[in-house]
Amino acid sequence: MSQSRIIGAVDIGAASVTVLVGDIVNGRSLNIIGKQDATSEGVKKGEIVDFKAVSNATHAAIMGAEKSAGAQIDSIYLTQTGSHLEGFYNSAAVNVSSSDSRVSEADIARAMSEAKAKKLSDDRLYIHHIRSHFLLDNRVSADPLGMQGEKLEVGYWSIHGDERKVRDHIHVINGFGLNVEDIILSSIASGTVIATEEEKRAGVMVIDMGAGVTDWAIYQNGIVARTGVLPVGSDHITNDLALGLRVNRKYAKKLKTSFGKAVLEQDDRQEKVWMVGDQMIGDRRIPKQSLIQIVRERVEEIYDLVKRQAGELCHEKFLPAGVVLTGGGSHLDQIDLAGEKILGVPIRRGELPSWVHDNLQRHEYTSALGLLHFALSGQSLDDSALQRKQRGLLRRVTQLFVN
């Protein structure tokens, strides 16, 4: 008898709320059976500013997705972003305890719990602990159990967020009467599907440029080494255009999508474009150069800030597979070229894997697809030995919010 689990992947962004419905059959295969987008209200820079508006939009999207799937969602996977998220790297080393110097399970557990023992202040909540590979006497080892050595070392990239803000997100889902199964960082959700396993092993950076925020993650040796959130996204470009060109947001957005470009070329210098383009009264001609300059300044700054956040890891040396762009903001013309100039690393727009159906092959859906991928693999980001405990904790946390 086949067992099927209906999973909803919810990505609440600043521009739209995306809900994908996946049917996980026997825990092995995934069919995407429903989808719904809703225009997002009340989210700015990745954070909820108007709880009611966000709830309404999200509930409408979930309802639409269930309808299109013709099935009831059992549980929800949710993305999380926002400038309140922070990460740090913490490592711990233990001496191998047994007399024959072979690593026991107890040693591993001790090292792992010590590396994660750092206490956060009361209002902060751990979202993920992402383990790097073990080091046994400074040798990299994926699974040191039973190996011989003296010193076992392990480190975690731990991501934590403002408890109230995470809770707000969960409350939105709870308000619909559904439980949140897991929360995944947007950058990691996107990274899972947009970069290939080979790229992750070699070293790659994923930049997900959304409307509200720019999320990024750096993979090393196949695992997430660093993540970050820059609370600047394509909404900022629209806002800059509205202010700089003295047009309202509607036209600013239209100008951005029709003529926006991240690199100023010789041909653009003399050209002028119509603000509205329908010959109506009040229409005026805007120098393309000004438009592009405004966009370019912002895009270059975004890359520059990401580079500064990522620090030394954002270097050609650590990123042989370059940078992969995704998210709605990556549609901007020549945004890849502009980035290469700043980061000094080859940049390309990502491609979603071929199993993704044509009508989902859009950069806006990357995070939500990533969530489904997580739901399928049942994998938690956190290491397997502590997986149950960690998931239990998260469940406890989410259940706490239900009541």
């Binding site: 500013v49 108007d50 609370p231 900022h236 800059d240 309202n248 005026r284 405004i294």
Partner: protein, 431 residues
């Protein structure tokens, strides 16, 4: 006081009786007022207040006041806001004399330094306590001047807003946009001064000159009194054959109307048009239609038109207004219709009582961005509505943050990332 009440009916009927004083505070403020003095302004008194004796000495302004002699010994504040504030407080009596008996006081200051940021809020408070309508023009520092200057300027702006009827901030970043590529920093400062004098002159012209449609002081006061929203201020100028269209275009592109904090629509609006004898009623109508479409409906607009014979073939439009905010209390209207001189003695207790609350709200609840320009209007005369006003501040602060309202400030290395990059980098955009 008796002097004021003696001519109160005159000032409503005939604008000649309005006493206007322009006070420049600090180095930047004094320089700006110096420039205004170059133009003939008969009925306007100019005054300068500074802590720096040397700078004050060189100013051609008639009425000069050095404050804080006991604090700074005639030297400047060295950029210390607290010294600026103490200096003003120490010489409160002198300052009070300076603002006494005026109907309309313009305060001009450059925020970010010591004297401007420290003393200007104190002078604003004294001026409004004396019953004058207080309109402040303040410049905000360039982004490249650093985070500290910005913080100082912001705090001062918050303080100014709680004391003035209208605060019109001029971010230097924005003014640089109006300049040529080759412009120097000095040019940018001159540009700021030019905007300030254009603004002041437009307001004064509508009060002192008579023309097609008269506007008087009472109307100006009415726009601000009892309103608790944003200040809207814009200027447009046109010359030549098609001066009408040019002026309207210029107004549409006015940088002051396109900063994040400015209201695009106003609930009460004063529009003044200054033109030559060739300015016809059809022109005025054309302007009205365009402006009503842009900023609100015609019903809420008070229109004035002035004919100045020296302005043939040119027209200057000045738009000044305020918005209601949610939570606006009609009770205010009662106060507004009351004669101004009756309310004049009242504000003192309310101001002193309310300030800590205001500050609490402004700084803790929603820190304004450097480019948010808003004034808290009509707050000071309402001792009995204190609680309402706190709600008020809260609502209006939220509304005024432009598209990124309701969000936390986006500070990275002391720069507010919500402010357009091109502005912070000083990249000039041509339109």
């Amino acid at each position: 006081m008796s002097e004021l009440s003696g001519k109160s009916f005159r000032s409503d009927l005939n604008s000649e009786g309005v006493r206007v004083k322009i006070i420049g505070v600090g180095g930047a403020g004094t320089n700006a007022v110096d420039r205004i003095q170059m133009m003939p302004q008969e009925q306007i008194n100019l005054a300068a207040v500074n802590t720096d004796a040397q700078a004050l000495e060189s100013s051609p302004i008639g009425e000069k006041l050095m404050i804080g002699k006991s604090v700074t010994r005639g030297l400047s504040t060295g950029g210390d806001v607290e010294i600026g504030q103490t200096a003003a407080e120490k010489d409160e009596t002198k300052l009070r004399q300076m603002v006494d008996g005026q109907d309309l006081i313009f305060i001009v200051a450059g925020l970010g330094g010591g004297t401007g940021s420290g003393a200007a809020p104190v002078i604003s408070r004294l001026a409004s306590e004396q019953g004058a309508l207080v309109i402040a023009f303040v410049t905000l520092p360039f982004t490249f001047e650093g985070a500290r200057h910005h913080e100082v300027a912001e705090n001062a702006l918050v303080a100014m807003r709680s004391h003035c009827d209208a605060v019109i901030p001029l971010p230097n970043d924005l003014l640089l946009q109006q300049m040529d590529e080759s412009a120097t920093v000095l040019d940018a400062f001159a540009q700021a001064d030019a905007w300030i004098s254009r603004g002041i002159q437009s307001i004064c012209a509508m009060l002192t000159q008579t023309g097609l449609i008269n506007l008087d002081f009472a109307m100006l006061r009415k726009v601000f009194e009892g309103r608790g929203g944003k200040t809207l201020f814009g200027l447009g100028r046109g010359e030549g054959d098609d001066f009408m269209q040019e002026a309207l275009n210029d107004l549409a592109l006015c940088p002051l109307l396109h900063t994040p904090g400015f209201a695009k629509r106003a609930d009460s609006l004063l529009v003044n048009i200054i033109g030559g004898t060739d300015l016809g009623i059809s022109h005025v109508n054309q302007i009205m239609t365009a402006i009503a479409e842009k900023f609100g409906s015609k019903e809420q607009i008070v229109l004035g038109a002035v004919v100045d014979e020296s302005c043939q073939n040119t027209v200057e439009i000045c738009v000044i207004g305020a918005t209601h905010v949610t939570g606006y209390r009609p009770e205010r209207k009662v106060r507004r219709t009351a004669p101004r001189i009756d309310i004049a003695p009242e504000p003192r207790p309310s101001v002193t009582k309310k300030t800590p609350d205001d500050e609490l709200f402004d700084t803790v609840e929603t820190k304004p961005k450097p480019l948010v320009h808003e004034s808290k209007l009509g707050k000071k005369r309402q001792p009995e509505l204190e609680i309402d006003q706190e709600e008020f501040t809260f609502v209006s602060e939220d509304e005024q943050r432009g598209f990124f309202e309701n969000t936390e400030r986006n500070i990275f290395d002391g720069e507010d990332l919500d402010v357009p990059t091109y502005l912070r980098r000083g990249v000039r955009i041509t339109l």
